[in-house]
């Protein structure tokens, strides 16, 4: 490597990257400092390489930490975006125990990050937007005053516009809501149907907090009588009613006044759900439904037919006189003449339920009318910065999902650095993910087959909060709750699972069991895993502990 800075830097870096013996002991402080001091002589590419390489260092004391941070300070304002962002990542990672330092670093780099969002190169703009989104997960107010920068330009490609709309939704506050809504309203009539639908969905999300203004806009959009817009608006109404039950009355009025029906299957399903769920508030509901039932022979989508069945039964329960006849026709058609097996089965289920009696049907068919987790009222939690530092300044945010560190296919040149990296950092962040849900039977089978790999007393008792809150809190850190015993039974058990870096982790939380030692006062967690990865278990337990501690602090 002839011109990678000076000769000595090249030699050192080459040695460090390829010699496994150097990896065996950690980076020493003086090594680190010498690299940092020479950074001013390097050009920008070498600087960002050095900064990425230096992510592996762990400072031994606060003095060391602040020494390093003050030396690197000037690079936070570098003219090159990649150096600034790499320095920011290093700051956030090194100072993970000092949130004030992290917040200060984020504040100082907010201006350069915003500048990349307005860069001439579209790809750079996209990268800047994705990283701004990540930062906003922890500091939503940082970019609040600059919301105008995120208005979409006319000629920007759709991927940039989608991201900008997502950011605009999160930036809304009392002062700028009308301007932002006006802007989003003008995107709803865009030529591209995907963009129009995304804009309408964005208005729907804002509507969960600012219902009246958004409802006015959405009602106005229905008047345009354009298929894709009408369908998107009805789907937004369905989501709005689910998350924000106080807007049900207004939504029902609008749906009643709307004469058009959507033409695509998503829109039809949404309309049918609304009619079935809130049929008592929409006076013309049975007649609209009759229209669908009569046109059943020409209906192609089986999802729509199943939704129609469920909605008709729900409507029958609240308005029997009007619905009885058409329900009969519907069931007759679906059982006798329908070719799709799923629809026929659903129809048979409805018929047999109704044979049992109205009360039985009511118990099975009616469900919650709005989102049980009440996430809107509690607001969006600000995530701790450590949740996303591992993927900051990597390809993760740009491709829309967290990329796991590469384990399988690594070329020889990269092999020493990446595999050594994994052993070198026992306290590297573990990223959890939900993946596909496990069924009860699968969980039970796996639980009985595997052996306990790790058992630990967590040191904190079961949080005295409602089970729903515990479930929601665990969900936030991507741990899925399978089952738990009701509130005050002793012993109290819960079964949870999650996935991380290619392994599946199953765990049981136990309190108050006579046979398990130490479980009277605090929770005991038993972990089973397939395949085995001790590192992931440690990460999982630490995340679990922090969640429980947070909940305990909140509830006490």
């Amino acid at each position: 490597m002839p011109y990678f800075g000076s000769e000595e830097t090249v030699k050192e870096l080459k040695r460090a990257l390829s010699n496994p013996n150097v990896h065996a002991d950690r980076l020493r402080y003086k090594n680190y400092i010498s690299k940092v001091i020479r950074m001013k002589d390097l050009d920008s590419w070498a600087q960002s390489e050095v900064l990425t390489f230096l992510l592996r260092y762990r400072p031994r004391s606060d003095d060391q930490l602040f020494d390093i941070l003050s030396l690197l300070d000037s690079f936070l304002q570098s003219a090159h975006a990649h150096v600034t962002v790499a320095t920011l990542r290093l700051f956030l990672q090194l100072a993970s125990a000092h949130p004030a330092v992290q917040a200060d670093a984020l504040l100082r780099t907010s201006a350069p990050l915003l500048a990349t969002c307005g860069a001439a190169s579209r790809e750079l703009r996209f990268a800047g937007l994705c990283h701004v989104q990540q930062v906003m997960r922890s500091q939503p107010g940082l970019f609040g005053t600059h919301y105008k920068r995120f208005f979409c330009g006319y000629s920007e490609p759709t991927y940039i516009k989608f991201r900008k709309m997502e950011i605009l939704v999160e930036l809304v506050n009392d002062e700028n809501v009308s301007l932002v809504l006006e802007e989003l309203r003008s995107y709803c009539t865009d030529v591209s149907p995907e963009l129009a639908q995304a804009a309408i969905a964005a208005i729907g999300r804002i509507a969960r907090t600012y219902s009246e203004k958004c409802l006015d806009i959405l009602t106005g959009l229905l008047a345009l009588k354009q298929d894709h817009i009408t369908s998107a608006v009805i789907q937004t109404f369905r989501d709005l009613v689910w998350f924000c039950p106080q807007s049900t009355a207004a939504v029902c009025q609008t749906v009643e006044a709307c004469v058009d029906s959507p033409q695509d299957s998503e829109g039809k399903q949404a309309l049918l759900w609304l009619l079935g769920e809130h049929g008592d508030q929409i006076s013309s509901a049975p007649y609209v439904m009759e229209g669908y039932i009569d046109g059943l022979k020409t209906e192609l989508s089986s999802a729509v037919k199943m939704e129609l069945l469920t909605a008709s039964v729900k409507m029958f329960l609240c308005r029997p006189a009007e619905t009885q006849d058409m329900l009969g026709r519907l069931l007759h058609y679906c059982i006798e003449e329908e070719s799709d097996v799923c629809v026929r089965d659903r129809a048979l289920l409805c018929y047999r339920l109704l044979q049992r009696g109205v009360e039985e049907t009511r118990k099975v068919v009616t469900g919650p009318k709005s989102d049980p987790s009440m996430s809107v009222l509690t607001g969006r939690q600000e995530e701790p910065i450590s949740q996303w530092t591992a993927t900051f300044n990597t390809l993760g945010p740009l491709s829309g999902r967290d990329l796991c560190p590469q384990t399988a296919v690594i070329s020889a040149a990269d092999q020493p650095s990446s595999s050594a990296e994994k052993e070198l950092l026992p306290d590297e962040e573990i990223s959890l993910s939900l993946g596909s849900p496990l069924s009860h039977e699968t969980f039970e089978k796996m639980w009985l087959d595997l052996e306990i790999l790790h058992r630990q007393t967590l040191g904190s008792p079961r949080p005295r909060t409602a089970p729903d809150t515990l479930q929601a809190a665990l969900q936030l850190v991507k741990i899925q709750t399978l089952a738990f015993t009701p509130g005050d039974t002793v012993p109290w058990k819960a079964y949870i699972y999650t996935r991380s870096t290619g392994t599946l982790i199953l765990a049981e939380l136990l309190q108050g069991d006579q046979q398990a030692p130490g479980s009277d006062e605090s929770l005991v967690v038993s972990v089973k895993q397939q395949p085995v990865n001790q590192h992931a278990i440690r990460g999982f337990v630490s995340i679990l502990k922090s969640v429980l501690q947070t909940l305990n602090v909140d509830s006490s």
Partner: protein, 463 residues
């Protein structure tokens, strides 16, 4: 870090391919073609542009290249792609690809499929020197020019007869010399070439204007992003001093004096710029290397010193021609006023007005023969083009659009009007270059050219 670098044309032709995997794989030729084709299919599968990071994940290709990410940038109508197996910083790779495209443009004169095809040897040589084992070494022209041997082949010879911007008559052209607009787009000479070509240096002040005007003519958002770019054809580096307006003030201050001071909100400078005289005299000192570089970037939000260049007075009505036959027209009357000072003009002004869905045809009344307008049913819009728009002038046009099945809500679909234009010889912030001095080490005459231009990034007017 980087596994492969390749350049594709819009049709998927492999123009350049360079592999940095050092594992000796048999049948490497086949694999490389597969990965390129896989990438091309993913990128062109859907209409419209794809986000820069693409991961090839499907079927056979997925097993072959699990974990391979492609990062691409589109420049000059070509795909510039880097693939990687690790998880590097996206900013680094994207800036590297942009810089590679800029260097290619410097060395070859212009950036197009033709120039890349003709100069592939030069580009391979550049890639050899720039990236080593997948790690980026250097992208600075000064260092690279010591190692690049190949001469550039340019697609058309530079000719003084290409007079697109030169005025032939008038006192001003005799006093101030004007060079044709293609003068700056020739290849930079390698150090071993003959000393043909003049010693010239071009300084461009380029601003991008992004404006949203609300429905009653109220300015809702105004944003200027500006750059000072230097394109240097001097064979040796000498120090250059650029003097900006002395009253340039940076940052939002509460005190605003009576003078129409030039203000920017913030600015960033290239690494090589020395700022010791910037605070007092607003002078930048830099040793420009050959080729193009951006010396300063600045931006100004929300408080523009000048009025937005265009104001639109629209009126949209329905016109029922024949009630019994349900045929109706939408009348769009647009009055466009240019608020620039009388001596300046706007070039290539094009106005796009969305029209209701289902519009079939259009008739127009335009005020002069060089303007054109056409209806584009695919984009659901009408496009009005004005090649030259003098300052202070007002142009109007009447469009009658046939919309069968017109409903009362169709008028709402005549949506926000977008404009694109170019304002030569002016900057909206008022930033000017007072002087440009080269330290006198040049043998022979060296010429300095300064150019100001403002483009519209996104100019939207709501109706």
């Amino acid at each position: 870090m980087i596994s492969q670098i390749f350049i594709l044309s819009t049709k998927g032709d492999h123009l350049i391919y360079k592999d940095y995997n050092i594992i000796m794989k048999p049948f490497r030729g086949e694999e490389s073609k597969d990965s390129i084709n896989g990438f091309y299919e993913m990128v062109t599968a859907l209409s419209g542009d794809q986000p820069p990071v693409v991961m090839v994940n499907s079927g056979f290709l997925g097993e072959l290249m699990s974990g391979l990410h492609f990062i691409h940038a589109r420049q000059g109508g070509l795909y510039w792609v880097a693939s990687t197996k690790t998880n590097p910083s996206p900013f680094t790779i994207i800036e590297f690809l942009n810089r590679l495209a800029a260097l290619t443009k410097d060395y070859c004169g212009s950036l197009s499929e033709k120039s890349v095809r003709m100069n592939f040897a030069l580009i391979y040589e550049l890639l050899d020197e720039m990236v080593d084992f997948g790690y980026i070494q250097t992208t600075s022209t000064d260092i690279l020019k010591n190692f690049i041997q190949t001469e550039a082949v340019s697609s058309k010879p530079f000719s003084l007869f290409d007079l697109s911007n030169v005025g032939l008559f008038g006192a001003e052209t005799q006093q101030s010399k004007v060079a044709p607009s293609v003068a700056a787009s020739r290849p930079i000479m390698s150090s071993r070439g003959e000393q043909g070509g003049k010693n010239e240096i071009f300084v461009d002040v380029i601003e991008r204007l992004s404006v949203v005007i609300g429905s009653k003519g109220v300015l809702m958002k105004a944003d200027i992003q500006g750059e000072i770019r230097i394109k240097c054809f001097l064979p040796t580096c000498s120090e250059m001093r650029i003097g900006l307006n002395e009253e340039l003030s940076i940052g939002k201050s509460q005190l605003k004096g009576y003078s129409s001071a030039v203000r920017v909100d913030e600015c960033r400078f290239h690494q090589a710029v020395k700022l010791d005289e910037f605070d007092t005299f607003r002078i930048l000192k830099v040793c420009p290397s050959q080729g193009e570089q951006t010396v300063m970037q600045y931006q100004l939000c929300d408080e523009l010193p000048c009025a937005p260049p265009f104001q639109l007075f629209p009126s949209v009505e329905k016109d029922y021609v024949n009630r019994s036959v349900n045929l109706s027209m939408v009348l769009i009357f647009l009055k466009l006023r240019c608020d620039l000072p009388p001596k300046s003009t706007a070039l290539n002004v094009s106005i796009t007005v969305p029209v209701p869905k289902g519009s079939t045809s259009m008739s127009q009344e335009l005020s002069s023969p060089d303007q054109t307008a056409e209806l584009q049913p695919k984009n659901k819009a009408l496009l009005w083009e004005i090649p030259r728009f003098p300052g202070g002038a007002q142009l109007s046009a009447l469009f009658k659009v046939d919309v069968p099945g017109l409903s009362s809500a169709s008028l709402l679909e005549v949506g926000p009007v977008s404009m694109s234009f170019e304002l030569p010889k002016q900057t909206c912030t008022g930033l000017q270059i007072r002087f440009l001095r080269l330290s006198p080490t040049q043998t022979g005459l060296s010429q300095r050219w300064v150019r100001y231009v403002t483009h519209s990034d996104s100019y939207t007017i709501r109706i």
